[in-house]
């Protein structure tokens, strides 16, 4: 196939340079009307290749590239928006065209124009083959249309066993559900910044022995907990709650002289 491409490529470069026929232009115009009907550039190329009326194995990729580029040009002239992948293909085909037309540069790395063209032809042939295969498949006799399964499956009343079932989709969606639930998990407070009432109670029990005189609640806060507001609030709340607990137990007295005034504590004798 490679040899074939080499010969063809050279011949065309000599005689057919940029000779886009009127028929091709007309064909491109007709296709543009239907641009939404194509499933991507490969599908469009396959449709264009049919105008060559040859076996896909003998198709002229150079000619095809010209047809495609003509199509894109027409679309531009008509100010039609083409999806990006159509333009990517156009750029690639323009590159391929230049490779096919220029004599091969022995210095240059990478695949030759003929190799690239052969691969594109292979892709088109394979896509066409899959379409034909799909058509043959759908033309087969089908269950429930041409042949039939048992209408009545057996039912016996005597034994009744319950089984549970689930489909693969259920399973996968169930998993996705649990994994995405992370975002909903109830807020768990960062324990680094929480001074618990249990901690405060333990601390206060140790301290009240020394609290013979009225002292401000804030002076009972643990060390290092007043440097940031979150920690300070937590420590204050816990210490206050612990103090109330100790008042209830009869170990402590509390007072506050006015609304929002400092809260004071002392040991109860």
């Amino acid at each position: 196939m490679k040899r074939f491409w080499a010969g063809r490529g050279m011949a065309e470069s000599t005689f057919e340079e940029d000779a886009v026929s009127v028929a091709e232009r007309l064909a491109a115009e007709a296709l543009i009307i239907d641009v939404d009907g194509f499933e991507g550039p490969l599908d469009l190329l396959l449709t264009l290749s049919r105008t060559q009326k040859v076996d896909l194995r003998k198709i002229s990729v150079l000619q095809l590239a010209r047809q495609y580029l003509a199509f894109v040009e027409r679309a531009k002239a008509l100010r039609l928006e083409l999806a990006a992948d159509y333009l990517v293909m156009a750029a690639w085909l323009a590159f391929l065209k230049s490779r096919l037309l220029l004599p091969p540069d022995p210095e240059e790395e990478g695949p030759s124009g003929e190799e690239l063209a052969a691969h594109l032809a292979f892709q088109l042939e394979r896509l066409q083959a899959m379409r034909d295969a799909a058509a043959r498949l759908m033309a087969r006799d089908q269950l429930g249309r041409d042949f039939f399964a048992r209408g009545q499956t057996y039912e016996v009343e005597r034994v009744r066993k319950v089984t549970y079932t689930a489909t693969l989709l259920d399973l996968m969606q169930g998993y996705a559900r649990t994994r995405t639930k992370d975002e909903f998990r109830p807020f768990v407070m960062d324990r680094d910044s929480v001074f618990t009432m249990e901690q405060a109670l333990e601390r206060m029990r140790g301290l009240i022995g020394y609290a013979g005189e009225w002292g401000d609640l804030t002076s009972f806060l643990p060390e290092g907990w007043d440097n940031n507001p979150v920690r300070r609030r937590s420590a204050t709340a816990a210490t206050f709650a612990a103090s109330l607990e100790l008042v209830k137990e009869g170990h402590l007295e509390m007072r506050q002289s006015a609304l929002f005034a400092p809260i004071q504590l002392r040991k109860k004798d």
């Binding site: 039939f148 005597r158 549970y164 689930a166 259920d170 996968m172 639930k181 975002e183």
Partner: protein, 218 residues
């Protein structure tokens, strides 16, 4: 019609051969869930068929076979021979959909195996009821794996061959990851009620991929 037409030629335009008619009623009785009357049979067969006569042949053909053509009211149906009823016990299963809790638990076991109960609870965010695990064990979709080498040496759960068979998987490794589920359009197209669309949370994905390959290394 002229007298001298060969009766054989006439038959080309007549009803199909009796053997054909017998095939026809056989196929209809097989595919139909309810008993079928002779009238219904004839209305579905080509013009001129005699379902009654075909039925006589068909019933004879099935005499002594594993299934029989029986008359039920005005209709006919194919039924299992009564002496073979014992073979049919498996057909009487009632199939119910697995509960959401069970599906989620099962999914977590499949994706994270071997996994402990505590780990399942951590992932689901709720405690796993005993009944759920028992049900999955009883269905033989999960079984106990090796104990974890962590304090308390908790038991782990893994999925069984029966699980793989049911879900048409060759191994639990073939289950698609979150990223693949999403790119295959399996998540967006029908989001289960009450779920947020999946965010492009790549960190989470990496985590789950990592976890998975780790778990499946043997």
């Amino acid at each position: 019609m002229s007298e001298d037409i060969d009766p054989k030629e006439e038959s080309l335009f007549d009803a199909p051969l009796m053997a054909e008619q017998e095939r026809m009623i056989e196929a209809i009785l097989f595919a139909t869930s309810e008993p079928v009357t002779l009238r219904e049979l004839e209305s579905r067969m080509p013009h001129g068929c005699d379902a009654g006569e075909a039925m006589v042949h068909l019933r004879k053909r099935y005499e002594g076979r594993g299934v029989q053509v029986v008359k039920i009211g005005d209709g006919y149906a194919i039924r299992t021979a009564s002496d073979l009823g014992f073979l049919m016990q498996k057909e009487t299963v009632e199939v119910r959909k697995l509960s959401r809790a069970a599906i989620e638990t099962l999914a977590i076991i499949a994706y994270h195996q071997p996994v402990t109960r505590a780990e399942i609870e951590e992932i689901r965010g709720v405690s796993v009821s005993r009944g759920t695990v028992d049900q999955l064990l009883e269905m033989e979709w999960i079984r106990f794996g090796r104990r974890k080498m962590t304090p308390g040496r908790p038991v782990t759960f893994v999925v069984t061959q029966g699980f793989l068979d049911h879900f048409g998987l060759e191994s639990a490794r073939d289950l698609p990851g979150l990223k693949e589920l999403r790119s295959a359009g399996l998540l967006e197209s029908r989001p289960p009620p009450g779920t947020l669309p999946l965010m492009g949370d790549t960190e989470e994905e990496d985590e789950s991929n990592e976890g998975q390959s780790e778990l499946f290394e043997d």
